[in-house]
C-alpha cells in the first residue's frame, strides 16, 4: 500500500503511524498540513495529537487546514482514510463522519489499555476479523465521548457502521466498561461508503513487538489483505 500520514501543528502520533506502516513494508510518506498534494496514496492517516492546541473544539481548526480539501476529495472518491483519536475528531468536524466527540463524562484525561469488541466484519478495516473478537488497544484522550442524535444513532446501527465498542475483558458491553461516556459504547465507526474509519483507540500504538499489545495490528492486516486480494 501507499500510505500518507498527515501532520497538523500539534499532531503527536504521526511518527508512530508512519513507523508502523513503514515497518510493515508500505511506501509511507509524511504530508504537512499546508501541502496540497496527498501524493497518490491508497490510504490516508489523520493521526492523534492536539492539532491547533484543541482550540475552540478538538479538530475544529484542523478541519480547515489546506490539505483537508484534498483529504475530503479523496474520501469522496472512495479513498481509504483512518482518523485515530484527534484524527477521528477532525473527521467528524469535517463532516466525513457523523456525530461529535465531546468531553469525557468523567472530565478526566483517560490513558489506559481498553478492550474493544469488533462489531462488524463488513468493512475493509475489519474483514476477516470474527465479530465478537476482543482487541486490547490503548486509549488516551479527554474528548472521546461519542455523541449523535437519536436518528443518527439509529442510522449507524441500521447501516452496520459501528465497527468497535468498548467492552470489558469478557467482552461485555456495559456502562462500567465505557471509559468516556460514549453513546452505545461506540469506540469506532465507518461512513456509509465504508471507506472512512474514525476511532478513538490507538491501533498504531499496539501493532509492534516492542509494546504490550499487538492487537491493533489486526486492523492493518485486514486492510493489507483487502489490497492484496486485488480489490
Amino acid at each position: 500500500m501507499k500510505v500518507s500520514v498527515i501532520t497538523f501543528p500539534g499532531s503527536n502520533c504521526d511518527h508512530d503511524a508512519y513507523e508502523v506502516f513503514r515497518s510493515r513494508g508500505h511506501i509511507t510518506r509524511m504530508i504537512w498540513h499546508k501541502d496540497h498534494d496527498l501524493q497518490n496514496p491508497d490510504l490516508v492517516i489523520l493521526p492523534g495529537g492536539f492539532s491547533y492546541g484543541d482550540y475552540l473544539r478538538c479538530g475544529a481548526l484542523a478541519r480547515f487546514s489546506p490539505i483537508m480539501n484534498e483529504v475530503i476529495a479523496f474520501a469522496e472518491k472512495s479513498g481509504f482514510v483512518i482518523g485515530i483519536c484527534n484524527g477521528f475528531q477532525i473527521l467528524t468536524e469535517a463532516g466525513l463522519l457523523p456525530g461529535a466527540l465531546m468531553r469525557n463524562n468523567s472530565i478526566n484525561f483517560v490513558c489506559k489499555h481498553q478492550m474493544l469488541r469488533v462489531e462488524s466484519a463488513n468493512s475493509p478495516f475489519t474483514q476477516g476479523i470474527k465479530v465478537g473478537s476482543l482487541l486490547d488497544t490503548p486509549i488516551a484522550h479527554k474528548e472521546g465521548n461519542y455523541f449523535i442524535d437519536p436518528d443518527g444513532l439509529k442510522a449507524l446501527q441500521d447501516n452496520d457502521q459501528i465497527l468497535f465498542r468498548y467492552c470489558d475483558a469478557q467482552g461485555q458491553i456495559s456502562p462500567q466498561a465505557n471509559p468516556n461516556g460514549s453513546l452505545d459504547n461506540i469506540a469506532g465507526i465507518v461512513n456509509k461508503g465504508r471507506n472512512v474509519l474514525g476511532m478513538m483507540p490507538h491501533p498504531e500504538r499496539s501493532a509492534t513487538e516492542s509494546v504490550y499489545s499487538q492487537d491493533g495490528k489486526r486492523i492493518f492486516e485486514a486492510l493489507e489483505s483487502y489490497f492484496d486480494g486485488g480489490n
Partner: protein, 84 residues
C-alpha cells in the same frame, strides 16, 4: 464598527459533565440552592463595518461554519456599536 457578542451553548439534550462537576463544587461550597450549571463559550468579534444587517449575516455564517458544532451546540449573538 460593530462588535458581535456570541454565546455558544450546549444543546439541552447534551450532557455537560463540566457543568455537573461545577454544580458539585458549588454544593460543597454551601450553595445548596444550585440545581444546574451549564458551561458554554463567549466569543467577541469586531467588524470593520457599521451595517447591522450585513454584520448579522456575516456573524451567522461564521457561527455556522466554525464557531458552533451543529451536532452538539446552539448559538445566539447580539451586536453592539463600538468606537473605533
Amino acid at each position: 464598527m460593530l462588535k458581535a457578542k456570541i454565546f455558544v451553548e450546549l444543546k439541552p439534550s447534551v450532557l455537560d459533565p463540566q457543568g455537573k462537576a461545577v454544580t458539585n463544587s458549588l454544593h460543597n461550597l454551601g450553595f445548596e440552592d444550585v440545581s444546574q450549571t451549564r458551561i458554554g463559550k463567549y466569543i467577541e468579534i469586531v467588524f470593520d463595518s457599521s451595517d447591522r444587517e450585513y454584520v448579522s449575516k456575516e456573524t451567522t455564517r461564521i457561527c455556522d461554519s466554525l464557531l458552533a458544532n451543529p451536532n452538539t451546540e446552539t448559538y445566539r449573538f447580539e451586536l453592539m456599536e463600538i468606537m473605533s
